[in-house]
C-alpha cells in the first residue's frame, strides 16, 4: 500500500465519526522508483489531505521529506523540477507513489480499531456487528 491509497482510506468501524485519517504504524516498508508524472501530481495536489500525508511520512520516520505546508502549484511547475531529486515535485512524488508499506497497521482515529497490513495489503474487514450504521 502506498501513501496515496492511505490518503483516501478511512475506517468504517462502529463509533467512527469520520474514521479519518488512519494512524499509520509501520514495521516494514520499501521504496520502488517510478517515473514522476508532473501533470498528474499537479492535479492531485489540491485533492490531497496534506496533514494526513505529512503525518504518514512522519510515522515512517521521514520528517524531512515534506514541508508542513503544501507546495504551491508554481513550486511544482518550476523548471527542471522533475529532474531535480530535491524538488517539491519529486518529494511529493516520492511520498505518494514510491513508498510501499509492507507490514504494519492502520488505526482508526476515533475507535482505535486496528487494521493490520500484511504483505502490503491492509485488511479492512469488519464483523457485521462492528460496522458503522
Amino acid at each position: 500500500m502506498r501513501l496515496l491509497t492511505h490518503n483516501m482510506l478511512a475506517s468504517n468501524a462502529r463509533g467512527a465519526v469520520t474514521g479519518y485519517p488512519l494512524k499509520l504504524q509501520v514495521v516494514k516498508w520499501s521504496t520502488k522508483e517510478v517515473e514522476p508524472n508532473p501533470e498528474f501530481l499537479r492535479g492531485m495536489l489540491p485533492k490531497i489531505d496534506w496533514p494526513a500525508l505529512v503525518a504518514a511520512t512522519q510515522a515512517l520516520g521521514l520528517p524531512e521529506l515534506l514541508p508542513e505546508a503544501p507546495p504551491t502549484d508554481a513550486e511544482l511547475s518550476a523548471e527542471g523540477a522533475a529532474a531535480d531529486e530535491g524538488s517539491a515535485l519529486r518529494r511529493l512524488h516520492r511520498a505518494l507513489l514510491e513508498i510501499h508499506i509492507e507490514e504494519g497497521a492502520l488505526v482508526c482515529p476515533d475507535t482505535d480499531r486496528c487494521f493490520p497490513i500484511s504483505r502490503g495489503v491492509p485488511n479492512m474487514l469488519l464483523h457485521e456487528d462492528e460496522v458503522r450504521n
Binding site: M8, T18, D49, M124
Partner: protein, 227 residues
Amino acid sequence: MKLKQLEGLLGDLQQFTAPKVELEQYATGPHIASRMLYTAENSFDDITGKVVADFGCGCGTLSVASSLLDAEHVVGIDIDPQSLELAQENAADLELDIDLIQCDIKNLNLRGLLVDTVVMNPPFGTSRKGADMEFISMGMKVATRAVYSLHKTSTREHIKKVALRNCNAISAEVLCELRYNLPRTYKFHKQNEVDIAVDFWRFVPRARDEGSTACSVTNLKQRRMHR
C-alpha cells in the same frame, strides 16, 4: 498499447483455482476485460494518467488492464484473501504496481475526490440479491469521472432506474451488449459452458463537493422499503 497486445497479456494471468460461489467469483475473460478498458480509455479518456479503483478485483484482471493502459495509480479491492494473493502475483509477474485492499465493498470508506474512475465486474446479484446494486452505489460514491461495470442484460431496466434515481448518476448508458462465455465453474452448473447476455455500462456521477455522500446503501434499502 494495442488491443490485441492487451488481450494477450491478460490471457496469461492466473485465474481462480477454487472459486467461491457465495462471492459469485467468475473470471473476467481477457476478451471482455481488454475491450472494457480499451473503450474506457480510447472513447472516454478515463484510464491513462488517472486514479482507478477496481471493485471486487478478484485475481486482478481489470486492475492489471488499467495499469497496462498507464493508469497512474490503481487500487484493487476484494473481500477474499486468496483472490488478493493471486492479484498480487499477477501484478508482480508483469512488474506492475497495484495497491490492494481487503475490504467488503459495502463497508468501504474512501474519502475525498481522489479516485477518478471505478471499474468492476461485480457479482450479478444471483447468489445474494442486491449485491450488484451495492457495488454500483459505492462506485458512484467513490468515482469522480465514471463507473464502468458489467451486468446481466435481463436486469437492464432495473439497473438504469436505480442508478439514475438513487445513485446520483447523471447518465447511465449501455455501451454494448456482450456474450459472456461462462465456462462450467461450479458443480451446480449443468452445462459445460453457457453464454449469457451481459451489458457493458458506463455511469457518470453527478459532480459533488468533498464530504457529501452521494448515495448510501442504507439509503437505498430505506427507499426500497418505502416503495
